[in-house]
Amino acid sequence: MALLEIENLTKHFFRLSALSRVSLSVEPGELLGVIGPNGSGKTTLFNCVTGVLRPSDGHVRFRGEDITGRTADTVYHRGIARTFQLIQLFPEMTVLENMLVATQEKEGTLLSRLLHREEPEATVRALALLEFLGIAGLEENPASNLSYGQQKLLDFGMALMSDPQLILLDEPMAGVNPTMIKNLVGHILELNARGYTFVVIEHNMEVVMSLCRRIVVLSQGERIAEGTPAEIADNPLVLDAYFGR
């Protein structure tokens, strides 16, 4: 059974249709790439899956459960985490607090979160993840003090905090220097080998080609192609979408 199934997903903003009848599925353990020109609906797709936006039509199923139109916190608790194209952090909170807030709602009740104050396991996990991502030692700094690349890594770290089954990465390499790109690609591949499933939106073709075995192409809100990197590179429809006829 597919981990994530998207069926005829449609999103209109007034008359403009940002997504029209997009279907795709993600298998467990996969590393799926989503590419397409600017404005093709990639981020809207992520927003509709994660509950940030309510789709106008269609269905999203995760592990067999219909999660269409659920609120973002519900979707997160079902096991889907994501990062953002434009980094979204809690700038005045410390790096450690940013990490902890990403997992604090996972277990217990509302009341237990008031009464039980110690979070030793979460703290250990947060520090270990920061170490893994190469930004250890910054945990007491406000997130806004971090460099752009470090913030990108923190955003990624937050997505890993709750040990999700599916991680949606929205342009993880945009604006990141080549050394950091290498590191990030390494991290994603390592996590994927450990069993994490990824869907990656990315403009850097080299990265997409090296990360993903399967790629879906969107253009003007529609799915126009799907296949291996080699098939996509030779697909005339894809070339048209990017360069025009």
């Binding site: 994660t50 509950g51 809690f90 005045e92 450690l96 990403a102 604090q104 509302l110 406000p142």
Partner: protein
């Protein structure tokens, strides 16, 4: 840490000793400031920490005042009235939290502003219960058998005890995961929801808890003055609380203390300048906002930083900033 404890003890000793040295009028101003500190702590939680604007803090305060006044007339002990007032304010805070789930910023300001006006009208017109525009006089101060808090000095200490409860409980709430969730919602609502923070639960709680503190402050306010009438719970008063919280420093734990002190004491100090005092007061508020947008706490930070500019600024994650 040791220095912080020492400071805390010093503040407590000083506040307990204050009634010995102050005359009756000054003691009244200090008591009023303490009551306002409790109220400002509540609004700081709702607005400063959770980022939800509320212009009906005076209405929540009214629930506390009228609960102790109405129940007190029927011989119910003061503390029972206070708990009822806090509970009613908490309940209405929850109700007012629901619009906050749908609307934000100035729209939420309009909703809460409307609520304040409705409460004011109900207080003025429900004469059989509230005494209408004449209000209720001779609001009794608490007494435990032979131990009475009727004198101004004793009642000051009584208020001080509740203020300590308010400060400690607010610290406890804000240093928990709730406090972190509140700040996360304030800083980036969408991101907070995407990492699993339930906006519904925490926004409702932010409103209800903030209102509960207003209820507590209101309950102490009524016997401090001795009489209450709807005129004390208008929009003006709500804006005064807003001013305290903003002047003190939004989302800073020390903010309400500084804000309540300035807003209560400054007009009293300026009273000597006759008719000019309102103008001077308003002007200084405008200047403070222009030059210290982060509130008076910002001034404190500045002094602190320059005194230890060599050391790196790091903050502990345990304390509710």
């Amino acid at each position: 840490m040791a220095l912080g404890r020492l400071g805390l003890v010093a503040v407590l000793v000083l506040s307990v000793g204050l009634p010995i040295v102050l005359d009756q009028y000054k003691l009244y101003v200090v008591s009023l400031t303490l009551v306002y500190v409790i109220l400002a702590i509540g609004l700081n939680l709702t607005l400063g920490y959770a980022g939800q604007i509320s212009l009906c803090h005076a209405a929540f305060m009214a629930f506390g005042s009228y609960a102790v006044a109405i129940l007190g007339r029927r011989g119910v002990p003061f503390e029972v009235g206070l708990v009822v007032g806090v509970a009613v304010a908490f309940g209405w805070g929850l109700v007012l939290g629901f619009p906050a789930l749908k609307v934000k910023h100035h729209y939420l300001a309009m909703v809460t502003l409307g609520f304040n006006i409705i409460v004011f009208l109900v207080l003025r017109n429900w004469e059989s219960l509230t005494g209408g525009s004449f209000g209720i006089s001779n609001v009794a101060r608490p007494a435990w058998g032979p131990l009475s808090f009727k004198s101004d000095r004793a009642f000051y200490l009584y208020i001080l005890a509740w203020a300590t409860v308010a400060v400690a409980s607010a610290y406890w709430i804000l240093s928990s995961r709730w406090g972190r969730a509140f700040r996360a919602i304030r800083e980036n609502e969408m991101r907070a929801e995407v990492v699993g923070v339930s906006l519904r639960n925490y926004k409702l709680m932010a409103f209800a808890i903030g209102a509960a503190y207003a209820g507590m402050g209101g309950a102490l306010f009524a016997p401090l003055l001795g009489y209450i009438d709807p005129g004390a719970y208008t929009l003006d008063r709500s804006i005064q609380f807003l001013m305290m919280v903003v002047l003190g420093g939004l989302g800073r734990f020390e903010g309400p203390f500084i804000g309540a002190l300035v807003v209560t004491v400054l007009p009293e100090v300026l009273r000597g300048s006759e008719g000019l005092y309102l103008i001077i007061y308003a002007l200084s508020v405008i200047l403070m906002m222009l030059f210290m947008p982060k509130g008076l706490v910002g001034l404190w930070d500045l002094a602190w930083r320059s005194s230890r500019s060599r050391t790196s600024p790091s903050t502990s994650s345990g304390s509710p900033r």
